[in-house]
Amino acid sequence: MHSFGYRANALITFAVTILALMCAIASLSDNLNSPSPSSQVQVLNINWFQKQPNGNDEVSMTLNISADLQSMFTWNTKQVFVFIAAEYETPKNALNQVSLWDGIIPSKEHAKFWIHTTNKYRFTDQGSNLRGKEFNLTLHWHVMPKTGKMFADKIVMSGFRLPDEYR
């Protein structure tokens, strides 16, 4: 009952249980944080808008993205993954979400940013429905913790519209 083996076993079990408990509490403490993010996106220019040989429309645009995500960082946050998706409907598809740009915010200091960029990923439709299309730009963020549960949310910005003709 008091051999080395039993003592080592009891010690290790206790240590692992406490470690697991600490990870759970760290994760639960993230719920106490109530974030208040803000963001703004502008489409500065439509660079080109064409129908590709495979029949799908494609757009290239320059975006001006500014956001303040500092309130999202807690001591248990490893990074925040942020991306912008264009959302729209077509006659064939009830929902389309295409990611245009993403970035990783490693720390609170970098969480208030302003960036001027063309879309990092191609804005391509399944089909040829984009002329004159109204779409929303949604800023999504995923808070990835050091341990525990991940959180995600978004801000929807509407009122964007693609040109009626190819250019």
Binding site: L95, H140, P145
Partner: protein
Amino acid sequence: MDSFRSISIRRSTTQAINLGMMMTSALMMWKLWMCVSGTESPVVVVLTGSMEPGIKKGDLLFLHMNQSPICSGEIVVFNVEGKEIPIVHRVVTVHEERETEKVTILTKGDNNRVDDRHGVYADGQLWLEQNHIQGRVMGFLPYLGWATIIMTEKPVIKYILIGALSLLVITSKE
């Protein structure tokens, strides 16, 4: 002499039953976890560095799956036909057809320059569908998957561990 032998038979039978009970209750808990989380593998170990720096090789991921539609930005685990190991990447594009409600998905690893059509999907495959997705990532614990990676890369260690554990259970006096 007879009573001596029957005591030791009783003791070894008890030990065998105890061992069996431990193994079956572990199996029952695992199956229960599979039911609750809705996926066949509710816990996976990250094997590649394609999602760094957020999710590193050796991290342990907890999965959950239900019928609600997959949104862009979610981190999902999926299988590609012809490849055995499941892949953990993020969804970048979703299209949902109005009539059939069929969902097509494009994924990309955070640390990869290009999306998964270049190198991850099967030849000629452009999209994933909802039934390819095994689960979405809900939470994770860092570093805990290394034990599994070591045991897979050097199976000797796995056999040594199982052998040692069985020896411990058999030779324990209670």
